[in-house]
């Protein structure tokens, strides 16, 4: 019977796998609804974060959709995660299907299978889930009995590489979008499911904001570039460009209200409140910043209520104030001070996961660690030289950085972590070697202001991967070998300084995973064959270095792309011209392609652009399309202390002798 729990067949396997707790569900605040909770037309979603449970369970986006959907009386949503290879092998041996951790229902029983991709490295895991779920890998092979597979998340902004495997993609904010899709599915069910799967997909596509790859045709030029991507005329009403979803008023969406509290250990052992969405700093490498415009703030009182309610619902000991650049909230000072005051006695810690470099942040950081140890602070100048920082539009001067670092060491911080990228457009060895100079200055300054020799600085380097819908979408990516060589020179430059080198830590990744990410980020439909070949060859969990195999990706790519006369370099290290049709051009992120191109030219000319919240609008295209002004505070409100009357409610009552 559909919707029945498969737990009895799963249970014996749990004794034989590592960390079985991740497969049993039962988390605090999780929900299991009756299979027919909304009657015959109940709309049933399986939601997946295609990574291990420990990474997926704290994911905010998935948690929000789970709750928003379960609040609907006519719908239910359950969660599923990637199973580790030991479990996969047992499931195959015992014919146990991919299951949800809530009701332990088979994935194939649901109407909709929604996947949230924060990175492209989850694609092979999607194929595992489909296959274990008994769902054909290719969308065109599915029939009315199979779930409609929908991709979302940042990686869905270029859905072309997975176009063969998904029925649909949705870009932008998910909370209103999933409700809209639920409405469409519910109406189609009530109508008696006319026209089956294709009719349902058509109805979704005709909303203008659901991309259904099968309704679009792609043609190629003889040199391998795309000639055209256009709706197939056999399906009238399918839009040329698919719009992204944008939630305008975050205060109207205070989710998650009941964050999940897993029993198993997860990567974020805290509760998170998203304090704003979007970022207008305009760092040119940053896909997240570009595709989530405009900035929408949650009010200080809205934040206060979410923290209060969330802590009561979870008992977490730490609250993360989440956003792309948390210190940019217009009332961040009042928010952190207000929360620190409120929760001082209950020992609830606060953290700001992403912050920018400026002196103001030191005050913030000091506020956050009022009673604690000042161990480490992270800054992200991203580029080593002044020149390259102009290219990427990270408007931080060396003086800014040194002043900030001086303030940090002066306030008692012992360790500063600096985050940089390697392989940025126009970058030379010289730009990267500047990182060493900067780090040495940081140590010298730190020793001077703190008067101690035991302060440290860690330099952490990530490889730059050009992403869709950014000004760098046309840029050539630096090859893996060149990246490694540049980083080796930098390492030598740091190590060779005998006086300061020992105080500087150096962490970096080799250039190989970045090339695979680059292939998947800017690939087109032809790359789908590579993903499938890698998966068939055993590729799983590509985000985990112990499972990732560069060689496997390169071998499969060479084999699968050869018939088209192209290769991995063609997708990664090749620069693109303005006239080239990009695989994601028909996905409308709100940004004008002309504006992005102009910004790319400005980058090459080392021209910076200010944050458009504080200076005149640069007409990137987002705001007029959304018919909105950028929403920014300040509200001028503050957080009042929450008074606890009479201590613990469990206090022993003193017997009254009347």
């Amino acid at each position: 019977m559909p919707g029945e729990s498969i737990f009895p067949t799963l249970e014996p396997l749990l004794e034989q796998v590592s960390k079985p707790i991740q497969y049993v569900g039962g988390e605090l605040n999780s929900t299991v609804k009756d299979w027919t909770v909304g009657g015959d037309h109940t709309v049933r979603w399986a939601l997946m974060y295609p990574d291990a449970y420990e990474v997926g369970v704290p994911n905010q986006g998935s948690m929000i959709l789970y709750e928003v959907l379960n609040e609907r009386p006519d719908a239910l949503a359950e969660r599923t995660y990637s199973v580790w290879p030991d479990m996969e092998a047992l499931m195959r041996a015992h014919a146990v299907p991919q299951f949800t951790v809530d009701g332990h229902r088979a994935l194939g029983d649901f109407d909709l299978f929604g996947l949230s991709f924060s990175t492209e490295l989850g694609y092979t895991n999607m194929l595992t889930a489909l296959d274990l779920g008994g769902i054909p890998l290719h969308a065109i092979d599915r029939d009315d009995t199979h779930p409609v597979v929908i991709a979302g998340g940042h990686a869905a902004f270029n859905p072309e590489t997975i176009a063969d495997f998904i029925d649909a993609a949705i870009v932008g904010d998910g909370e209103e979008a999933v409700l809209m899709v639920t409405d469409v599915v519910a109406a189609w069910k009530r109508d008696g499911m006319p026209g089956g799967r294709v009719e349902l997909l058509l109805r979704l596509a005709r909303t203008g904001s659901v991309y259904v790859p099968r309704f679009y045709d792609v043609s190629y030029l003889p040199d391998g570039r795309i000639q055209r991507i256009a709706p197939n005329p056999a399906y009238p009403g399918v839009p040329w460009r698919v719009a992204k979803h944008t939630v305008m008023d975050l205060d109207a969406w205070p989710y998650p209200k009941q964050p999940l509290v897993p029993l198993a250990e997860s990567v974020h052992e805290r509760m998170s409140v998203e304090i704003f969405r979007g970022c207008t700093r305009g760092c040119r490498f940053c896909q997240a910043g570009m595709i989530t415009r405009p900035v929408r703030e949650r009010s200080i009182t809205g934040i206060g209520e979410m923290v209060q309610r969330g802590l009561a619902a979870t008992g977490f000991e730490e609250v993360g104030l989440l956003s792309l650049s948390s210190a940019d909230h217009t009332e961040i000072g009042e928010v952190t001070k207000g929360l620190a005051d409120r929760y001082e006695s209950s020992k609830v810690g606060l953290s700001l996961p992403s912050t920018r470099v400026d002196a103001f942040n030191i005050d913030l950081a000091n506020e956050l660690t009022r009673n604690g140890r000042r161990s480490g602070l992270t800054f992200a100048p991203e580029g080593g030289s002044e020149r390259i920082r102009k290219v990427i539009n990270k408007m931080v001067t060396e003086d800014d950085l040194i002043n900030t670092v001086a303030a940090a060491y002066g306030a008692g911080w012992r360790q500063v972590k600096l985050y940089f990228m390697c392989g940025l457009p126009t970058e030379t060895d010289e730009d990267v070697l500047q990182i060493a100079e900067l780090a040495k200055k940081v140590i010298e300054t730190g020793r001077k202001v703190s008067g101690r020799n035991d302060i440290r600085c860690t330099v952490s380097i990530g490889g730059f991967v050009p992403k869709a819908h950014t000004p760098f979408q046309w840029a050539p990516q630096l090859g893996a070998q060149e990246t490694d060589e540049r980083l080796a020179k930098l390492r030598d430059a740091i190590r060779s300084d005998r006086r300061l080198g020992s105080s500087i830590g150096f962490r970096y990744h080799d250039g190989k995973p970045g090339i695979v990410e680059g292939l998947l980020s800017r690939g087109d439909r032809r790359v789908g064959r590579v993903i499938e070949a890698v998966w068939r060859d055993g590729g799983r969990f590509d985000g985990w270095s112990e499972h990732f195999s560069y060689e496997r990706w390169m071998e499969c790519a060479a084999r699968e792309l050869a018939p088209f006369g192209i290769d991995v370099d063609w997708y990664t290290t090749r620069g693109r011209e303005e006239s080239e049709v990009l695989p994601w051009d028909h996905i409308d992120s709100g940004l004008d392609k002309e504006w992005l191109w102009q910004d790319w030219l400005d980058a090459i000319d080392e021209v910076e652009v200010d944050d458009c919240r504080w200076t005149p609008c640069f007409d990137c295209g987002v705001c007029p399309q959304l018919g909105t002004e950028i929403q920014v505070g300040p509200t001028g409100k503050t957080l009042l202390p929450i008074t606890v009357v009479g201590g613990s409610p469990l206090r022993e009552r003193t017997p009254s002798h009347a």
Binding site: Y23, V24, G26, L263, K347, R651
Partner: protein, 235 residues
């Protein structure tokens, strides 16, 4: 400062939670239940909790224990209800008592276990039990932090018997096992049982700790380790 002793059960699918998993869930539940916990001093204050002799991950238990310290006097029954409500279903708080003098750990001398063998004939289990009890020694080897160790399981077993289950395809093993060092775990005994006969259940057996406490040699039963605390509280 008041010290409380708590007995809880770990049931159903939450038997797959480890003692560490339970620890995290408990700290959060204590906050949600607004139990006035006492914290350790230092930069990273931790609530003062001490765990006693947790059952291995994968086994269910009706008798797990821990102690907590609170900063103001609380009503033990109110704490029991609030903490039970704040923990996920399957981690169920059974009793809370104020601690009387004497260490709890010293009272946990032995455990009573029940093991359900699925798809196993009672006669096969009985034969295995007889063979095991007849053996003078029943050694097993297990990996420890310090390396592979071989140790006897037989001397730790106080009683052992087989019984029929309501479901005729299952058979039940009951045993009382003394807490020793290295500790003899139920799975060690199952390994030893398998070694003395050809007992080979097709699915892993379900193990539940029914009780742990002082060992009464006369009856070979396990007594309530909180009896002394309850007596003191009642006086």
């Amino acid at each position: 400062m008041q010290k409380l002793r708590v007995k809880y059960a770990r049931r159903g699918r939450l038997r797959f939670s480890s003692t560490r998993d339970f620890g995290r869930a408990l700290e959060r539940a204590l906050r949600r239940a607004e139990v006035p916990m006492a914290f350790s001093a230092g930069f990273h204050p931790h609530p003062k909790i001490s765990y006693a002799n947790g059952a291995p991950t994968g086994t269910a238990s009706e008798a797990e224990y821990f102690e907590i310290s609170v900063t103001e006097r609380v009503d033990a029954d109110a704490v029991r209800a609030a903490l039970d409500a704040a923990l996920p279903d399957g981690l169920d708080v059974l009793e809370v008592v104020e601690a009387a003098p004497g260490a709890l750990a010293d009272r946990l001398e032995a455990s009573a276990w029940e093991v359900v063998f699925r798809q196993t004939a009672l006669a096969d289990l009985e034969a295995a039990v007889d063979a095991y009890l007849d053996a003078a020694e029943a050694p097993v080897s297990r990996m420890f932090k310090t390396g592979m160790k071989t140790f006897d399981t037989r001397s730790a077993v106080v009683t052992m018997s087989a019984a029929a289950a309501a479901d005729p395809s299952c058979a039940i093993l009951r045993m009382v096992v003394r807490h020793t060092t290295p500790s003899v775990r139920p799975d060690d005994i199952l390994t030893a049982l398998r070694a003395v006969t050809a007992l080979a259940p097709p699915v892993p057996p379900l193990v539940t700790r029914l009780a742990q406490g002082p060992l009464h040699d006369a009856t070979a039963g396990v007594a309530d380790p909180l009896a002394a605390d309850k007596a003191a509280a009642g006086s």
